[in-house]
Each structure stands twice: as C-alpha cells, then as structure tokens.
Symmetry: D2
C-alpha cells in the first residue's frame, strides 16, 4: 500500500532539530521514530512530548532499525560528511542541513555516494519553500521582471558568533540557495569576490560581502553581518522590465514589484550606439502580491517524502547544495592569505549548473 507513512529519525537536537522534530511528528507522510544526539539528555528533552519517539545517543542503533526510511541530519557542518556516509551506507535516504558540508570536496563525495546507491539526498534549503521565495521564482520564470540585471541581498542582525564557521558560511548559504532556486538556470557566477572583516578579533569574519558577476552582464551582491544592532533581511532583484524588493520583515508587504526603472533607448544594435543614446525613466505603479501563509518546513518534509516515493530528485537536491558550496569555497579562496583583502576567484569547472527552465529543466 503506497500511502503508508515513511519512518524518519532526526540526528542533532540543537538549534534546528526541534523544528524538524515538530514538522516530522505532525506531517501526514511521516512517522517520527527517533531523535538522536550525542547528548542523551538533550535528545530526551526533545523527544519526550511525543510518546512513540525513541531518544538515543547511538546513531548505529537508529540505522539498524528497519522502520527508519530516512534520516535528517541537523548537526554542525563539519560532521555532515561522516554522518551522511554512515546513513547512506545503511541504505537510508537523507535530508541535510545547510550548508551541505564544510568543503566542496566533502559535498561532492556525499552527492556521488547517494547517486551511486540510488538514494535521495536532499539539502534543507528551507527558505526555498517559503511563500515569498516560491512566488519570486514564479515571477522570474514567467518573465514578470524581464532579464535579471542585478541582485542585492542584505541579511544582517545581532547574531550568534558561531564557534566553527564565519558569518559568510553561516548566513550567506540562505541567500545563495535562494538565488540558485529563483534564478532561471540557477546560480552560475563567473567569479566571486569577497571581503571579510573581524573587527572584534573573534578569529573569523563577522562581517562579509560577496560580489558575483553573473552571465550576461548581471551581478549579485550579498551582505551578511553578525554585528548589526538592527535586523534587515532584504533582497532586491532588478530586472529589465521591473524590480522586485523582498523585505522579509514586513509582514504586510513582503514582496513589492516596482514598475519603475531606467531604460536605455536602444535604437542601434551595438554597444556604442546604446551608450550614445539617451536614458529614460519609468515611474509606474507598485504591486504587492498577496502571499498565503504556510510553514516552509512542512513543505520540505512533504517534498522529501514525495521524492522518495516517486524515485526522483527533490526540488532542492545535492546539486543545489554543491552550487552553494562552490561559491562559499570561492569566497574562502578569495579571502585566504589576507584576512581583510579581496581577490576574485574563478568557479570550479565541474559543478553542474542547473538546466535552464526554458529547456524544461528538472525543477
């Protein structure tokens, strides 16, 4: 009988684990079987509300259970490689917290392993399942903005200084995953420049800026910051027809689409003509689409179940995770050697790009 519930275990009872537990425990597709954490007390505290859920500190015990079909890994990034290898070796599907891994090489090994075994590896890019991001993706796909000219993302607040990763690896994955998800063809920067600052002497960047030229003259910029006393989560996507502003902290108008912009008169075909030609300004209306409210993690766990049942890659699979890791690695390279300098880094050649939507791509 196809519609039987799938069994799942959650590994890691820290910051994100409770959200996974709550969503798996209440989802129609899933039976939550176990919560696993090296700190058994923490696993128990998380599991005790759900009488049928087992708490343990022993992953092998979890992996031996035949009623566990998938494992969600919500532990620090540096542990993902080993944990996922064990999960896959046990024949279980896996959902992995962002970032997929702490290096591109490790991420590649994980993805190759899952593919070799025919198991689903899903990256938990939760933001991609929010009503706002789903709508942005649709607007871009249907051409409402025209061609993308630039993206400017800001994600700053008074944040927890992480023990093992800098602010770029901590916060930028959100914006990179979103860009990969909404840009037709995915995130394919032709280079990455990075600037990081550690003014407190914390031993890692607490402020970061990424600049990425995109194909066709477009570009993307991401600003992340743990030291800002005010909180901003704002992404601007400037298009040739319209510009979208996503202000995630404005619940009554998260998305605004501005029919406002600069037009270059394009009488001639070549660049010189365009440069000589005048510019004009559009000052049109603004439109704020209504967004239904739903919890994005509910869609994540539903998508994982559907991918397993249908034997297909999930919407945010390992390759999406790799494209995010590729940019993070380039940023690390750009920053290396001089803690506060900036050098451009070329993209790796072997991370597959997302196929173009126009080609009837996978998403």
């Amino acid at each position: 009988m196809v519609r039987e519930r799938l069994g799942v275990a959650v590994v890691g009872a820290g910051y994100w684990g409770p959200n996974l537990v709550r969503n798996f425990a209440t989802a129609p597709d899933w039976s939550l079987r176990a919560v696993c954490d090296l700190d058994l007390a923490r696993a128990r505290a998380l599991a005790h509300r759900w009488p049928d859920v087992h708490a343990t500190h022993d992953l092998d015990e979890v992996l031996r259970r035949s009623d566990v079909d998938a494992v969600a890994v919500a532990t620090p990034a540096r542990t993902h490689g080993d944990l996922v290898a064990r999960v896959l070796a046990a024949g279980k599907h896996v959902l992995v917290e962002k970032p997929l891994a702490d290096s591109l090489a490790t991420g590649r090994a994980m993805v190759a392993d899952a593919e070799a075994r025919g198991l689903v590896l899903m990256t938990d890019h939760t933001y991609c399942y929010t009503p706002a991001v789903l709508r942005i993706r649709d607007l871009l796909a249907e051409g409402a903005l025209g061609d993308v000219l630039y993206v400017d993302a800001v994600r700053i607040n008074l944040g927890l200084v992480q023990p093992d990763v800098d602010v770029i690896w901590d916060l930028a994955p959100h914006d990179l995953a979103i860009l990969d998800f909404v840009l037709p063809g995915g995130l394919r920067p032709t280079g990455v420049a990075a600037f990081g600052a550690d003014p407190l002497g914390a031993g890692k960047a607490c402020i970061g800026y990424l600049a990425m030229p995109l194909p066709g003259g477009a570009s993307a910029h991401v600003h992340v910051n743990w030291l800002s006393p005010t909180k901003i989560r704002r992404m601007v996507i400037g298009g040739s027809r319209r510009t979208l502003v996503w202000d995630d902290l404005n619940p009554t108008q998260r998305l605004s689409v501005y029919d406002r912009g600069v037009d270059l008169a394009q009488q001639g075909a070549d660049a010189d003509d365009r440069r000589r030609a005048g510019v004009s300004y559009r000052l049109g209306d603004t439109w704020a689409p209504a967004l239904a409210e739903h919890e994005p993690l509910g869609l994540v766990v539903a998508e994982l179940a559907a991918a397993i049942r249908e034997g297909r890659p999930p919407r945010t699979d390992g390759h999406d995770g790799l494209r995010v890791l590729a940019v993070l690695e380039q940023a690390r390279t750009a920053l290396a050697g001089d803690g506060a300098a900036t050098r451009p880094a070329a993209p790796p050649q072997d991370v597959p790009v997302r196929e173009l939507v126009a080609n009837g791509g996978r998403s």
Copy 2:
C-alpha cells in the same frame, strides 16, 4: 572695515548652481555679483530674480572684477582643473563642487596652486555641514561609540545616469567625504576593493560597491546604485561601545544610537585567548538625539567667508577633497582592465592624512 560683505560669483547654472546662488544671495557675509554659464540664457534665468546680479557667459569678465573676492565652481568635474587654475591665477579664492577633480593628479595641482598663492580652496562637501553629520562627528570625537569597528553606507535610488562619470564617482564622494569628516584622523583606508556593474550597457558602472580596510582592523563599505526603485540613504557606524544608524530619510529619527552589540570577553591579552573566550550580547536602550534643522549650504558659505577673513583653511579644504579623490582613483584602478572584477589597490603614499583629533588637529 572687516565686516564688509565679500563679493562672490557662481560659475555653472546647472543642477547645483541654483542652490549656491540662493545661499550666497541671502547670506549676511556675501554679495552675489555674477552668475556665469556658457549657456547665457541659463545664467540669465538663474540671475534674474536678483536685480543686482550680473549674468554672463564670459568667465574672464567675472575674473577681472575687483569686487569679486571668491568664485564658486559648480561645473562638471572634468572642467574643474582649468577653471580653478584661472580663478586662482586671478587671485580669487575658490569653492569647488565635489568631486574636487576628475583625477587625483589634477586635484593635487589645484591644491598646490592655491597653497602657493595663499588663497583659500574649499571643497563643497555639503553633507559635512548637515546637523546629522555634525552630530555624528561630535559623537565619535567624544567617544560615545568607542572605537570604530565598521562602517556600512548605502546610497541608492533611481538616479540620473550621468554622461561623464560612473555611479562611484557620482555618489560615493558624499559618503567618502562624510567618512573623512567624522572619523577621528580622517579617511585612511589601507586598500580599496571595488566592484562595479553596468547591466544596462550604459558604458559605465551604474552599481558600485567599495570595500576599504581601515587601520586597526576596522573597515568601511559603500554601496551606490542608480537603478534602485526605492531610495535608501543609510549609514551604520559600528563601534566598540555603541552603534549609530543614520537614516537620512527618516526625518523624525535620523540618528539612532544603539547600546546593543556583541562583546568579546577579554580575559587574556593575546588573540588566541580572545578567540577561546566567550562572547556576550548587550541589549541596551536606544537613544535618538534631537537635531536642529538648518540648511547646510548656509554653513558652507559662512565657513568660506570665515576662512577667507581669518586666513585659515576651511573645515573642508582641498586636502579633504584629495583624500576622497585618492579613494576614487584606487577604485578606478581596482576596476580597470576588467569591467566587473575586483582587485585591491594600495593607497597613494603622498596624500596627507588628517591629523588625529587627539593631537589637537586642524578641525
């Protein structure tokens, strides 16, 4: 008799000229004598409200007048070098629009010329005379923020694509001049990284990002953009004690000082100790100082008169203009060769830094 009015002429009747004319015409220190523009009709249209003001297209005629003590130059940056040379050669003091010149070399020549002749050369960094910037400078000077850790400036809107300069040379001089004015010791980046984008094919960058490491581990970042459908003018100055946010478009609360931030416990003396030590968060009150309203250009023309009368450099003199030019030149170098790439550029060695406030500096 000392308090006699000084005579002034305004050259350039374009965007900024009318503001200069209005302020000189109504200032108690000044008698506006002439308005000069190559387009005589434009000069006349601007002068006709002031019965005693002569309109002309002939600068030499203006420079021959003995009742003209100073000339304000509000023409495109590429003309500043020649015009200022003629003004100084005629023995007149000069007020120059920002940016001081279209190259550092030209700017240096202008400053050297004025100093050799003992004439006042003032850069019209108008923002430095606003109530908000004057207050920020005081707050930094008195230590209310502690040491500066980072600066993040955003100046974006739907702007006029300029015929001769890119967005960095058009808009960033405002933020650079402000930084030079408020930072104790002035703006002294140890490098400049720049990223520019021209997604419309306008022939020049319409989006620009500057990242500047500052001495002592601090850094500054400036984002300028002509293509944004929404307008933002915001500068954050993060300090070791408090953080200031200047939102110039919020008239009821332009300045907010947040007693909120991250503290590294500093039990040990060396960096490793600091890194191992924990961090803590301050979540204190916010304070928004009241600001008196005044027109900053009124202070500019008053300061020019005072500097001439007292034989001293004005608050924003040629050296301030040169420090701004030095950063713009470094950004140009960083961008050169690859329209959308980024390379760090070292600062020129011979632009004098502002003396430290602690040394009883000139301001």
Copy 3:
C-alpha cells in the same frame, strides 16, 4: 485677446501668503500686481523679490486698481467676511483661504454675495489639487473601491497652538474638504459628534475627534491633534470592494489599494439573513498607483483663472466651503456647554449638497 494675463493681488503676508505669491508670480495665467498686509514691512519683505509687485497696507488702494481682476485672501478666518465683502463690492473675483469663514452664517453671506454679483468665489482647498487626492477622487468615481463603508482620517503632529481657533477649526478643514471632494455626492453627514480636549489649559481644544454617520450606513471619523510628538497624516477609505490607505508622509507609496477585506455572504435579501450568514475574508494583492509630482497650488491658481475666463464655478467653490463650515458648526454645537462632552448635532437644512456624480454633477 483672450489669453491675456489676469491681474491679482494677495492680501495677507503671513504663513500661507508667500506660497500664494510665489505661485501667482510664476503662473502663466497671472500677473501679480500687489501684496497687501496691515504690517507694511511684512508686505514689502514678501514683495521685494518681484520687482513689478507693489507692496501696500491699504486694501482700498488695491481694490481701486483696474488691472486687478482677482484678490486672494490669506488672513485669519475671522476677517474673511469683511474683506471678501469689500473685494466683491469692488467687482473683483476672490480666492479665500480655508476655512471659508469663522461661522456658517458669514460664509453663506459671502457665497450669496458673490453669486448675486456674478463673481467667482473660490475656496482654497489646496489638498484637493494634490496628485494623491485627485487620484483618490478618480478611484472612487470609477468604483474601484465599491461603496464607501468608512473613512478614518488622522492628522496629528506637534502643531502651533493657534491664537484664535481650536484644533478642529485649524486642521479638520483639510480632511473635511478632501472628503467633500472625493466622496461621490460630497460630504453629507447625517449628524456630527465631537469630542475635544484641552489638557494644557490653553483655552481651546488642542485635541479633537469628529464622528460623522454618512448616508447608507457609512461613517467618517477625523482625529486632529496639536500635541503629538510624531506626525501622522493618514486617511483610510474602506470600500465594499477594496480599501485605500493614503499615507501622505510616505513619498514612495502614498496610496495603497488593498484588495483585502471582510465579505458578508449575502444569500438572503433581509438583514436577518445577512446576520445569520457567515463572513469570509479576502486576502488579495495590494496595488500602489504611481503619482506624478506637481505643486497643488499651481493647479489652484490655474483653476481660478479658468473659472473666471469660462464664467463657471471653480472645482472647489463657495458651496464646498460651506459644507465644510456646516460640519465645523455642528461640531462647535456638539461641544458647546461642556468643554469635554459630546452630543450629536443635526446638519443644517439649507446647505446644498453636491449633486451626485451619477447625475452628471458639476465636477
């Protein structure tokens, strides 16, 4: 020759006079002939920028001039009755500051006088000529909001305590004139309740609330306040189809039209059925129409010229002014006898209502 300029004089060089002077002086339809104020120095200070404009303290001298076709009266409300009578007796058209008079009776006499003499009497309801209000009127006329259900207007700030009028007579005329202008059929409350407060002991209300039932179950509420440390200028017009919010202090989105609201299912014809039936919620998109920028007073002086030339009433004529006065009088009646109490006051029977737009009304 028809397109000859008309001559005008401005009486009153106080708060609003300078705006009238500037607009008449630069309008293509008008030649500004004179500025008149009991305080001759103030008249001169205002006139001196315009070489051809005569300054005087003698209204009779102005009224004797044959090159003056119209007079704009910008003096305190209590003087309007006498001044307008003199202007009309001299055969001149007249533009009168809001409120039209300090009592309904005086206003009626003014309007009757102008009509008897065949002269134009225009009320300077400047707000009715702003891009926002013109657009609101169009949206209501074309049915974009459906039937008006309620209006809620707030106009509060730290304001000048006026020597002769309370806050209701000072600020509410703006909102009442706007309502009269935008509501199809004009402002026709079936009663007026008022609440005023004078917590400082200033001798007059500094805080005021007006509540007005409108025909068909709708209602309007106006809140005015001189004591608020923050400034709000906001009007909500709730309609059966959509709701409009006008936030005059948000320049990037002054008007927002929300397709969001409560629907009563209306299966049955009578009220009981409706009450038993359920309600549902619409959560549709928001739309912010672009507004061209223009100075409304420029349209006011152009409309005055057009009305004089075409021998027709202007868009905001004396009857509009009377409908505003009628509400102010009702509010005064409601407040009388008990400084802080509230009683409903019925409307006067003889102030003509605006004809319905559906009847091909005058506007």
Copy 4:
C-alpha cells in the same frame, strides 16, 4: 509542603485555550489536570500532547476532582457568569478570560461571590504582563512622563467578526485593561462617549470609537476596527513632561519616549493668565528603553499561583475586570437607541476605583 504544584483545569478549547494549556502545562507552579470543552473531540485534540492531562466535556467531573485547585475559563463571555458560579461553588479559584462578563451586573455578582467565599478571582488581562506594559506602568509611576494629558489608542486589523459581541466588547477590553493597569489610580473616566458603525450590516458594530474624559482635564480615546486591511496597535500617552508612543508591531523599538511637546508658559496662577501666556515647544531627544522578551501568559499563571498561595488579590483581579466592564456598559448605553449616534454616559457610582499609587495602593 508549600511549594507543591497546584492543580488546574482549563475550560474552553477554542482560540485562547491552547495558550493557557501550553503555559499551565510547562509552568513550575502548576500541574495541568484536565481540559474541558463541550466538544469532546476538541478537548482531546488539545490534551493529547500531554499524556497526564484528562480530556472531558463534563465540567462537573472536573469540579469534583480534589487535585484541581483552580479553573481557567476561556469560553465566550456570555457563559462566564454561570461557569464561574459553578467553579466557585465547588471551592475552586478561578482565572477568567477578558471581558470578565457580558454585563456589569453579572461581573459584580461574580466578584462578590468570590470575595464571600475567600477565593481568588483573577481576570486574564494578559497584556498587563507584557514587558512593554510593565515598563509603561513603571514610567508613569516614577513620573517620567509627568501628568497624563491624553491617551490615544488604536487597535485595528482585519479581524474575525465575532458571533456574539461587537468590536468594542471584543477589542477595547485590551486597551481599557491596559489603561486601568498603567494609569496611576486606574481607569476612572468621568463619562464615556461612543460611536459605532456597522457598514456591512453584520448586526453589530465592526468599527468603534470611545472617548473618555479623565479627572483633571485629561482624556482617553480608543479606536477599534475589524475591517482595516492594515494592522495597527499603537498607544500614545501624552504627558506634561514627555510623551510615550507604544508601537506593538515594531519589535526593534516598541516603546519610544519623546522629550518633545508644547509648554504653556505659566506665569500666572489663573486660567486667563495661562491663556494669555505664550506657548513654547520642546524638541528634545527620543529614548527607546530596551525590553526583555518573555511570554506574558507565563507571568499570568505564576501570578495566579502566587495569589492563591499568599492569600492575596492578584495583580489583575476582579475589580480591574469590573472597571473595564463599567466602561463597556457605558459605551453600550451611549450607543443604545441609535445605532450610529453618540451620547455621553455617566459612570456607575459603585465600581470601586483603584487606590492611588501615592497612597501605597495595592499594586
């Protein structure tokens, strides 16, 4: 042993019940014993997460339990009278949802009953336990605002049209309870004027305005609205020294204290002198106190336990509930007879006022 947990049952599993259940279930002072709802399925759905909590539709069964010390009543207001009578008759303490009852008479009977039996009757005025309201109360008590001059409260959003109560009885209790809590001496209006509108024909007011003169020339105004497409929760408390603005939807600056206002020069003792005297304006700084975050309902259940253990009235007891009911009744009287008119209604004589803080009152 005093610190044993108290037993509690929650009656009503609708909108508010789940919040009570969650807080009682996790509070150190309480053992949640039962959830009771006429709809047994709803009671079970709410109880099933807590293995030891009994679900039932039979209140008598709950009241017979000796391990239940208190009952929380979260049912529609019209049922409070009967339910609370049964709870008290069973010797249990009681926490009652706002409004305390659907009439002042019923509320009085409840309070008298509890006092006769020596049982605690607490009104669940949850807002009074929020960090913002607690801080406002402190600021007023310590004189930071000076004397209260006016209060203006707005609580509007797209709200559920309630089946049994109008918008005034639904939403205004929040603001009235807050005012009663923060005003030194409690809420003691000398009259209540009300204006209600039912533009949808829902059979009850969906828009309401209350105006209340307060002793000493102050006044309070409350605006509630179920039909607003935008959400506003804002209270302004104007004082003789400073003015406080509470914007509950601005998490980064909920409270702002403005040292900005109008001063009447007070050279003379009598009113005429004051009126002749000039006014001046203070334009001082703004200050936004930091607020700790906590869940207010956690404090409510802790306060209930403390009151029971210490044999004292809780912070928000039945008399607070009665003062709120008194205003609601006056508003109902004011609105009666004419659905959209307004008449002042005098306060009942026998609702005890809160003793003044200066007298060492109970709070």
